[in-house]
C-alpha cells in the first residue's frame, strides 16, 4: 500500500514537472518547435524545381485546372497578377506559422501548389515549408515579368479563403480551405 502511494505521488510529480516544462516551452516559443528543422536541402530542391512565370502563364492560358496558386504577402496588399485565376489565393505570411491554418488548409489539398511571396527569400521559405509537409509544390520564379496573354476563364471556385479578387485587397486572417476537386495528372509543361 505504501509502495503504491509512493508510485502515485511520483507519477503526479512527474506529470506536473513535465507539464510545467511544456508550459515554459509554450510561453517562450508559442506554437513553434524549439529546434527549427534544417531547410537547406529542401530549399536546394525547391530552387531546382522552380517554375517560370512564363510557363505558369501558359498553364493558365491553356485553362489547366490541376494546380493552385498561393501568394504569401507580408504587407497589406496582394499582387493583382493572378487575381482572375480561380485557383488563386492570397494569404498573410503569418499563416505559415499558424498551426491552425496549416492544419485546416493543407490537409485537403490534392493539387500541385505554385507558391510565391513578395521577395525571393519569402518565396523560397514558404515553398520549402510546404515541401517539408509533403506537398507537391513549386516556387514561382518571378525574375521574369510577363503579362497574361488572355483572361483566364473562371470555371471553378477558389480553394483558399480569403481569396483576392481581381482588384488588390488587404490581406486578412487566413481561413479554412474548402474541398478541392480530385487532382489530375500534372504534366511538366514549360512552354505554351
Amino acid at each position: 500500500m505504501k509502495k503504491s502511494l509512493l508510485t502515485r505521488k511520483t507519477l503526479v510529480i512527474v506529470a506536473v514537472v513535465w507539464g510545467f516544462a511544456l508550459a515554459v516551452s509554450g510561453v517562450i516559443n508559442g506554437n513553434q518547435a524549439l529546434t527549427a528543422p534544417d531547410m537547406k536541402e529542401l530549399q536546394d530542391t525547391v530552387m531546382k524545381e522552380k517554375i517560370s512565370e512564363h510557363a505558369l502563364n501558359c498553364w493558365i492560358t491553356n485553362q489547366r485546372s490541376d494546380f493552385l496558386i498561393l501568394e504569401f504577402a507580408k504587407t497589406n496588399q496582394c499582387s493583382t497578377r493572378f487575381g482572375n485565376f480561380p485557383g488563386y489565393s492570397c494569404v498573410h505570411e503569418k499563416a505559415l506559422n499558424n498551426p491552425k491554418w496549416m492544419r485546416n488548409a493543407l490537409q485537403k489539398i490534392d493539387k500541385q501548389l505554385i507558391v510565391f511571396g513578395e521577395t525571393a527569400e519569402q518565396s523560397l521559405d514558404a515553398t520549402a515549408k510546404f515541401k517539408m509537409h509533403g506537398y507537391a509544390v513549386r516556387m514561382l520564379d518571378r525574375t521574369e515579368s510577363l503579362e497574361f496573354t488572355q483572361d483566364p476563364i473562371q470555371t471553378r471556385q477558389p480553394v483558399f479563403k480569403p481569396v483576392q479578387s481581381s482588384q488588390a485587397t488587404p490581406v486578412t486572417a487566413p481561413a479554412i480551405v474548402t474541398d478541392a476537386p480530385p487532382s489530375e495528372e500534372v504534366e511538366e509543361e514549360e512552354g505554351c
Partner: protein, 203 residues
C-alpha cells in the same frame, strides 16, 4: 527524422499496417490486463461505483498529450500533419449520447468489446453484433442523417485554438484538470452507490 512517419513518407503502407497490427494487439492486451475486458467493471463507472475506466482513459490522454507535445517542441513531430477529425457539433453530441447509452447498457465500448471477445465473453459477441447492426443502420440512412450531422462543422479544432493558448500552457492546464479529477474520483469512488454482492448460492 520527423513523424508522423507515414505522412512524411519515411514509412511505407505495409510497414505502417504492420505497426498498426502490433500496436492493436498490445492495446488489446493492456485493456484486458487492466480489467477493461470486463463489462461489469466498465458499466460500474455509470453507477459511480468504480471509476477505473475514467482514470485509465484520463491517464492515457495525459500521457499521450505530454509525449506528443514534447516530441513537437523537440522537432520530432510535425503537429500540422497529425490527423484530426473535424468538429461537427451535431455529430459529436448525438454520437456521444448514443455511444454513452450503448456503453451503459452493454458494458463495453467498441475497443473493449473486441478485447473481451478474445477472452470468449459471450456478452461481447452480442455487443459486437449490435454495433454492426448500428453501423448498417447508419450507413443505410447516411444521405438523410449526414445533412443534420455535418451541419455544424467547426473545422479541425484543438483546445489550444479555442482558448488561444500555446500548446505547452494548454498541456499544463490539462494535467491540472486531470489531477483534480483524479482527486475527486478517489474521494467519492464507491460512496455514491454500491451494487449488492451476490452470494455464491444466489449467483
Amino acid at each position: 527524422m520527423v513523424s508522423p512517419l507515414y505522412k512524411t513518407g519515411i514509412l511505407g503502407e505495409p510497414v505502417t499496417m504492420l505497426i498498426a497490427v502490433i500496436a492493436g494487439i498490445a492495446f488489446g492486451y493492456i485493456l484486458i490486463s487492466v480489467g477493461m475486458g470486463n463489462s461489469r467493471k466498465i458499466s460500474a463507472v455509470f453507477y459511480g461505483e468504480d471509476w477505473s475506466v475514467m482514470k485509465i482513459m484520463f491517464s492515457a490522454v495525459v500521457t499521450t498529450m505530454l509525449l506528443t507535445y514534447t516530441s513537437f517542441y523537440f522537432g520530432l513531430l510535425d503537429i500540422n500533419l497529425v490527423q484530426l477529425a473535424n468538429v461537427n457539433l451535431a455529430a459529436v453530441i448525438s454520437g456521444g449520447l448514443i455511444f454513452g447509452v450503448g456503453m451503459a447498457i452493454g458494458g463495453y465500448c467498441p475497443g473493449t468489446s473486441i478485447a473481451a471477445a478474445v477472452t470468449r465473453k459471450i456478452d461481447s459477441y452480442i455487443f459486437i453484433g449490435g454495433f454492426f447492426v448500428g453501423l448498417w443502420i447508419f450507413a443505410a440512412n447516411y444521405p438523410l442523417v449526414s445533412r443534420y450531422l455535418y451541419s455544424e462543422n467547426l473545422g479541425k479544432l484543438t483546445l489550444s485554438d479555442i482558448f488561444g493558448l500555446p500548446y505547452g500552457v494548454m498541456a499544463l492546464l490539462v494535467v491540472g484538470v486531470a489531477l483534480i479529477t483524479f482527486f475527486f474520483l478517489e474521494k467519492f469512488e464507491g460512496k455514491i452507490y454500491r451494487r449488492p454482492v451476490l452470494s455464491e448460492n444466489n449467483a
